[in-house]
């Protein structure tokens, strides 16, 4: 790279050469390594999505054939969830910003941080091996006994890949928890922390408590396939529903791993773009913890029709209603923050507004699905697909993009083209709704998920969905160009390009290796988002 950062003291300039990156202990460089890796897997997952939407343009399964189609949706899910969404915000923005927001030089365990990236890469390569070896056709949910006994695809390899990558998640969470507890700068009490820190902390709790269970679950599936141990095979006395309990014990909290950091980003962007403290700060902070805890008590809402007892279904359904409340609290509080704020209509604001609308729809449709009676009708239909894409793409990915843009000048020292970014946000918003809103209708009308063919009368909606997907793809492709362009030709960024509050904006862009100029100790004596209220204008 031949660009000149603003200060020759930046972490990007500290050392050169591949070894200085691959053996780095700097949390900021590790964040950049993750950024490159997850972007590659986002593109791969996107290719699988494109293949799916291409097939669904016509009612007959005439493009890929049934076996290949099964592999396409399986790999789309596996890649997007385990190799993009779960690490996305924590491993890139979290790794970069957490130590800075905590006023410290690095995370508690820098070498463990680097190890977590290597584990991600190794797990990713193993899973790529599974893809090259013919793929996996079980669905990302790996339900048994098909996955553990019958499937002739590379399930075992993929299981090992996911197992290894899970440890990447665990180590990141471990680092965040210890750093937040033990390395806050003097004066930085819990209730002065940015909400981004609260959100990543809550996410880390979920990573620690949930990920080991998916690890043992995929290991049990692997053992069943490799050694013929019949844990989940009915023919040998095993119970497939037990697999589902174990699987969803992690995989439901996993969706909170995917959305909580995004909510943290939105809190930061809302405060910054409205130049106002977040309304109800402590409610938003506690709601992150509430989501993390309650999220562990609802997994059975994925199993209403699994032959789980009806009594258990009712318990899970009631608690599912409860877990929606903290998310609603956040949404109300962000809205209240924007109200009468001095809103700056720059790029991050567009991503925030997009998030709020799409997350609201996704969250509300979760309530429909959490109602046991309705779920019987909607389960495994496109309604479910639309719901989770509204949250994970409309919510989490919009938040990720917003955060990436908001902190891009800080991380790279470059300003990107604001107009192109706004165009991307609009393209993504429009493309996303065109892609996924028809899927609510299709699901309600009865179109099952994971099917490559459908009755002719649903073609119009499917074509609309696929057309929307191409607009969505364009919206995601654009940033790849203007952000990369900015690395070479973008204006140099000042320390605080948006004019907002926060420790990260008090240091140069890009920051020096030890964040706060070598051995200086940060002291904090004010709350987060300490904006002065706008003076009231009296008329008359």
């Amino acid at each position: 790279m031949s660009y000149v950062p603003q200060n020759r003291n930046s972490y990007l300039d500290a050392a050169h050469g591949l070894a200085s990156w691959l053996l780095t202990k700097d949390h900021k460089r590790i964040a950049m390594l993750y950024l490159i890796s997850i972007t590659i897997f986002f593109a791969l997952g996107g290719l699988f999505a494109a293949a799916i939407r291409l097939e669904l343009i016509t009612p007959r399964g005439d493009l890929w054939g049934p076996d290949l189609y099964n592999k396409l949706f399986t790999l789309h899910g596996v890649v997007m969830i385990f190799f993009f969404l779960v690490p996305s915000i924590p491993a890139t923005l979290g790794n970069f910003l957490m130590p800075i927001m905590l006023g410290t030089k690095d995370l508690a365990f820098p070498r463990i941080n680097l190890l977590s990236w290597y584990l991600y890469v190794i797990g990713a390569l193993i899973t790529l091996g599974a893809i090259v070896a013919g793929g996996v056709d079980t669905g990302w949910t790996f339900y048994t006994p098909y996955s553990s006994v019958s499937s002739r695809t590379a399930v075992s390899t993929a299981a090992i890949g996911i197992f290894v990558t899970g440890f990447s998640s665990i180590l990141t969470g471990l680092n965040f928890i210890v750093t937040t507890h033990r390395m806050r700068a003097p004066g930085l009490t819990w209730f002065r922390l940015p909400l981004f820190v609260w959100a990543n902390y809550a996410t880390s709790l979920v990573m620690i408590l949930g990920t080991p269970v998916i690890a043992i679950t995929v290991l049990l599936v692997f053992a069943e396939r490799a050694f013929g141990l019949g844990f989940f095979d009915p023919a040998r006395g095993g119970d497939p529903v037990l697999f589902q309990h174990l699987f969803w014990f992690y995989s439901h909290p996993a969706v909170y791993i995917m959305i909580l950091p995004g909510m943290g980003v939105i809190s930061e962007l809302v405060a910054g773009m409205a130049r106002k403290p977040v309304f109800g700060y402590s409610f938003v902070a506690f709601s992150s913890l509430a989501i993390a805890v309650l999220g562990f008590l609802v997994w059975g809402h994925h199993m209403f029709v699994s032959s789980q007892s009806l009594y258990a279904g009712l318990v899970f359904s009631i608690i599912t209603m409860l877990v929606a409340i903290p998310s609603a609290v956040k949404t109300f509080n962000w809205t209240a923050t924007l109200y009468k704020g001095s809103i700056s209509w720059q790029s991050p604001t567009y991503w925030v507004i997009g998030f709020m609308g799409l997350f609201a729809i996704g969250g509300l449709t979760g309530l429909f699905l959490g109602t046991a009676g309705l779920n019987v009708h909607l389960t495994d239909s496109y309604f479910v697909v639309a719901h989770f894409h509204y949250i994970m793409v409309g919510g989490a990915i919009m938040a990720y993009m917003g955060g990436l843009h908001y902190w891009w000048p800080k991380m790279t020292g470059r300003i990107f083209n604001d107009s192109l970014s706004k165009a991307s946000a609009i393209l993504v918003f429009v493309g996303f709704n065109l892609t996924f809103f028809p899927q609510f209708l299709l699901g309600y009308m009865g179109m099952p998920r994971r099917y490559h063919s459908y009755p002719d009368e649903w073609q119009a909606l499917n074509v609309l969905s696929s057309a929307g997907a191409s607009i969505l793809a364009l919206g995601y492709a654009l940033p790849a160009f203007y952000l990369t362009y900015s690395l070479f030709k973008g204006k140099l960024a000042p320390a605080n390009p948006w004019g907002v509050k926060g420790l990260e904006w008090t240091i140069p862009s890009p920051p020096p290796t030890f964040n706060f100029e070598d051995d200086r100790q940060v002291v904090v004596d004010e709350p987060a988002y300490n904006y002065k209220p706008a003076r009231e204008v009296h008329v008359g």
Partner: protein, 100 residues
């Protein structure tokens, strides 16, 4: 470096002896049939042994409150996993609807 007091060799050896005695007790109680209480009793004895190892050998009795909370929360989350799963298995047929 650490402000925790250094435990004496005598204490460690006494705890070790207690653990060995409890191991014998583990076997002895298993030879009696307490019916429904078999598993809870076995787990209780194992729990006492585990508590001795955790509190004394692992030094948790001298650790910060945070470390204690972390240790307990692991166990607590395990209980959540067991409880809500058993909440399925043990309640099948409770609502009188066939097959549910």
């Amino acid at each position: 470096m650490s402000h925790a007091p250094i435990t004496s060799v005598r204490t460690y050896v006494m705890v070790w002896v207690a653990l060995l005695v409890l191991t014998v007790i583990t076997y002895v109680v298993a030879t009696f049939d307490f019916g429904m209480l078999n598993a809870p009793i076995a787990l209780a004895v194992a729990g006492i042994k585990a508590a001795l190892v955790v509190l004394v050998f692992m030094g948790v009795r001298y650790n910060t409150p945070l470390t204690k909370v972390v240790a307990v929360s692991g166990l607590f989350w395990l209980v959540i996993m067991f409880a809500l799963t058993l909440n399925d298995y043990l309640t099948r047929g409770w609502l009188g609807i066939p097959g549910r």
